[in-house]
Subunit: 203 residues, 2 copies
């Protein structure tokens, strides 16, 4: 499921950067596979809890999987949103170079990859590195919003595309947030501490 979601994020960003509608369609076609896996993983987790009555680390791992499962499915949705926006953007004239979008997409993708690696390998340092990147993504998004607003104010013809790009930036930032959630779960699994909503414990 992680592989499918990583692929969806990568491909949606590629579709956008290369104005490639076929890549975007790939993402849309793959969505149902991600959705089906979400249901399977939920069922399997609940069955494991019921039949095996796991304790200690096994129990924490399964509850972690239940949480990550919902983050992954939501990231798949966000990749679909980006793919849809990329189709609309590919058909429009380019009024603005996409300078920050590929950068933001790269950063979000690498956070997702690291968060999932941290979870699978139980690597606390890698998980912490994801938490740090979250602020950089927020800054990139704020910069893009600012730029796009002034762009729309100057040129009415740029409004529609700027709105699309604004939502792409929003979706990428949300993907980064979900990567952060996964890193927090990974950290909880390895170190037993809950860093959510506690910036001081993230160090």
């Amino acid at each position: 499921m992680s592989a499918l979601v990583e692929f969806a994020i990568y491909t949606s960003a590629l579709a956008l950067a290369e104005r490639d509608e076929a890549q975007a369609r790939h993402v849309l076609d793959n969505e149902s596979r991600i959705n089906n896996m979400q249901i399977e993983i939920d069922e399997l987790s609940t069955r494991l809890l019921a039949l095996e009555q796991p304790v200690a680390r096994d129990l924490r791992f399964i509850t972690a999987a239940i949480k990550i499962n919902s983050d992954l499915e939501r990231m798949g949705d966000l990749a679909v949103n980006i793919a849809e926006r990329s189709i609309s953007l590919a058909r429009a004239l380019v009024v603005r170079p996409l300078i920050d979008v590929p950068h933001m997409a790269d950063l979000a993708e690498s956070m997702v990859r690291k968060a999932l690696d941290a979870f699978v390998k139980g690597d606390a340092d890698l998980a912490r590195s994801v938490l740090v990147s979250d602020d950089a993504v927020d800054e990139l998004r704020d910069g893009m919003y600012h730029e796009l607003v002034s762009y729309m104010q100057r040129d009415p013809a740029a409004v529609r595309q700027s709105v699309d790009l604004m939502f792409v930036a929003h979706d990428l930032e949300r993907i980064a947030d979900h990567a952060t959630n996964i890193a927090e779960v990974a950290l909880y699994l390895v170190e037993g501490i809950d860093v959510r909503h506690h910036a001081e414990a993230r160090k």
Copy 2:
């Protein structure tokens, strides 16, 4: 926690409609209580799984609580976003009446209330009524987007506020999505069927 989240959604919509910054501050001040409850509920759920080794309906109830907990926390975040936008909007000149926002907020709020009631009371019909409302919220959002885009195209001075309103519409639609998630969990709990991603099973 449900009561806190319902209150946050209600108050953020009120802050927006009445241009009331004090109400918006209430929402911001309450966020940490919601966040703390999320952590408490997660800990309690995991402890119950470990110590009581629940089976059958008790087990399903606890895994449902773990899922709903994360939906509730996210709804609290979205109410905070709306409250922040309402502060920015309250300080700006009114360039557009907020016609659809209160309507959309009412609908989203009632979905949240019904979804949580359906979960607590195990009421499948009530849960299904939430699933139906989700489409109406999507339509309201699409209508608002369309209107706001043409508004921004006509008047550069309206861009900033229109962007704020566009994100408010987006956040309300996301709140409705989370209410839908909760209704799906409630339905699964009562009837044992998983209606996620299966429109035909929702009837």
